[in-house]
């Protein structure tokens, strides 16, 4: 009888010591960003299961679809705040939608853990909001990371860049900055827009032939990867490097011989050899039966683990105390070390990652291999590549 009582008291003590958090997760599970949104949700769920199994913090996730559409995202956030009564929201993947959420976020004042939204417009919108934690690098970090790579190519003799960019917000938003920065780095640049999904690039690529570019740099979507790779060969452009920058690469592209030597940028690859990355990959495979290449999955995972760590340190479910603890969190993640500091412009107070998480990879032997910077390179860059 005594033992039973002691056991019950121990259980009661454990339950009282456990911090329970109700967390809203607002991601694009439909619409154009749904691939990244679903990957992020997988990572979030994986981390939440691990945290709940740990017993110190209990996370209750309330998931909502923002539809990659402000008209759906705003009511969905309102519901999370007023009906589901969450104090903490993980979300904000697409920049436009996140901007639209800035009004209601400031109205309801949740602790907002932002997973994506790289546009500086979002940085301006959340300027002065002290419960905004932005994990993803800002767009100027992305530009800086790509430029570092291009500078290293310059030292290898590259002088001309032909840029092929899709005419939508994704391809066009930073194009002027890229052009200016590349010219500043000593490159001659020729840029042409295209309509994503059109499938026909021969006219533009033929025009590029006269320019004789060393690098063909394309900014578009996964659907454009294969036609560009095919038609570069078809027109005999023969650049020394094909550099692609889609938000996600087509499924199975690595197994296609046309992907050989193509270079791209990502924040994470399963082959990144740090302890947290390996732990994440193994846990992901165990839970979902496959390995993901989408870096939004470890990003979601990182956010939840950092939140749990902060809640544990705060010893409370109070969002202000958790925010205070989160600001002090230092932890290793699949992307490397995480610690919050003010953004480079000083507009927001809590910026997680910067340009250092970006890495350049090359499709080599049917797999993406990190090739730049040297600190993460698994193989030397094949330059000039064979296209």
């Amino acid at each position: 009888m005594k033992r039973v009582l002691v056991g019950l008291l121990a259980l009661l003590g454990l339950a009282l010591a456990q911090t329970t958090l109700r967390v809203g997760v607002l991601l694009p599970l439909s619409g154009v960003s749904s691939v990244s949104g679903k990957a992020a949700l997988n990572g979030i769920q994986l981390a939440a299961d691990q945290v709940n199994a740990g017993g110190k913090v209990k996370l209750e996730l309330v998931t909502a679809d923002d539809g990659t559409d402000p008209a759906k995202a705003v009511p969905a956030l309102t519901k999370l705040m007023t009906v589901d009564k969450v104090d903490i929201v993980i979300g904000g993947l697409a920049s436009g939608v996140t901007y639209a959420l800035s009004g209601p976020i400031k109205q309801y004042k949740p602790l907002f853990l932002c997973i994506g939204a790289a546009s500086s417009v979002v940085e301006n919108a959340f300027s002065g909001y002290d419960q905004f934690f932005h994990y993803h690098p800002w767009d100027y970090h992305n530009v800086a990371a790509a430029l570092d790579f291009f500078k290293s190519l310059y030292s290898q003799g590259a002088r001309k860049v032909a840029i092929l960019y899709e005419d939508g917000p994704f391809g066009s938003a930073g194009i002027k900055i890229y052009q200016e920065q590349l010219q500043k780095a000593g490159y001659a640049v020729q840029a042409e827009p295209f309509k994503t999904g059109s499938g026909n690039f021969t006219a533009i690529l033929t025009r590029f032939k006269a320019f004789k570019p060393d690098i063909l740099y394309w900014i578009g979507y996964d659907v454009d990867a294969l036609p560009i790779s095919t038609q570069v060969r078809q027109v005999g452009l023969a650049p020394k490097l094909v550099y692609g920058a889609p938000p996600s690469w087509p499924v199975g592209f690595d197994k296609n011989p046309l992907s050989s030597d193509v270079v791209g940028m990502t924040a994470w690859l399963p082959s990144v050899s740090n302890t947290e990355s390996r732990k994440f990959s193994a846990a992901y495979k165990k839970q979902y039966g496959e390995i993901t290449d989408e870096y939004m999955a470890p990003m979601g995972y990182t956010i939840v683990l950092s939140l749990a760590k902060a809640a544990e340190a705060a010893g409370s479910a109070d969002k202000d105390k958790i925010a205070e603890a989160l600001a002090k969190v230092r932890m290793d993640t699949p992307f490397g070390p995480l610690a919050f500091k003010p953004s480079d412009t000083g507009k927001t107070q809590y910026q997680g990652f910067d340009s250092s998480i970006w890495l350049q990879f090359q499709y080599l032997g049917g797999t993406r291999r990190p090739v730049f910077p040297k600190s993460v390179a698994a193989r030397p860059l094949r330059y000039p590549g064979s296209y």
């Binding site: 009511p75 309102t78 519901k79 007023t82 800035s102 417009v121 919108a125 005419d167 917000p169 938003a173």
Partner: protein, 307 residues
Amino acid sequence: MRLVGLILGLVLVFPVFPLGRWQAFTLDTAQFAFIVTVLALSWDLLARTGQLSLAQGAFFGLGAYAAGLSAPALGTIGGLLLGAAVAALSSLLLGLATLRLQGIYFAIATLAFSEVMRTLVLKAEFTGGATGLPVAPAFGGSWVLGGYYLAAAVLVLGVLTSLWVGRSRLSYAQAAARQGEAVARVLGVAVVRVKLLSFLLSSALAGLAGGVYAMKTLFLSPYDAFGLGRAVEALVIPIFGGLYTTLGPLLGGLLLVALETWLRLEIKDGYLVVYGLILILAILFMPKGLVGLWRARGKTAKEDRNA
């Protein structure tokens, strides 16, 4: 007519309904429902002449951008009126060039117009281009229910315009143009002028809806504001509710947004499949829309009473 009045009455008193914790969510959803419904009402105004427009998304986007850009200088109402005026003016120019076209040719011309407008806004620097345009909230965000009543006021205006057109001589001219343009001309109907006037009213309403949308979402991007999806939504709602009526788009808009929201909450992943199936079934089995069903039942009941 009584049902239209009842719906508008409910719209006006909706914020005082005791909805408890669901109140903020339903008010937000209702605002977007009102905006979409006005867009559907605006599309129907032109459809009454027999023209199928795919430019409603463009007028919506033009109104949204014009209102967003001018509101800091002109204020909320001034910005919205300018948005409506810009949309109306562009429809006048488009209409003068294309309203002699019919059927699919007119639809293609309006689709091309949408693409041109989207590209222009995408490339222009003063619109924020591909980066997008931040927009100030209605009335500077100082009035909590300001956004709701603004959307409600535009809905009331849309409904009144639709009713007015439906009861005016213009509706006979519209019906004549729709049923046979050549015959209408013989009867003395100035077909192009009728279409132009309908196009003007239709685009002004769409522009007004766009302005309210901009002040609710606080951010515009060319792909969102000028999306083809919006043009398709504008024509699906009147088909679902009942073409060439006021009640059809009004009922259709409110019900479809409510249905989509409910499905998203209940089914989550894959709700669009169910939503699409419901739409297909509705179009197959209710060719005259909700209003047609309503009228058919009313007719049957009357016949039963007379028998």
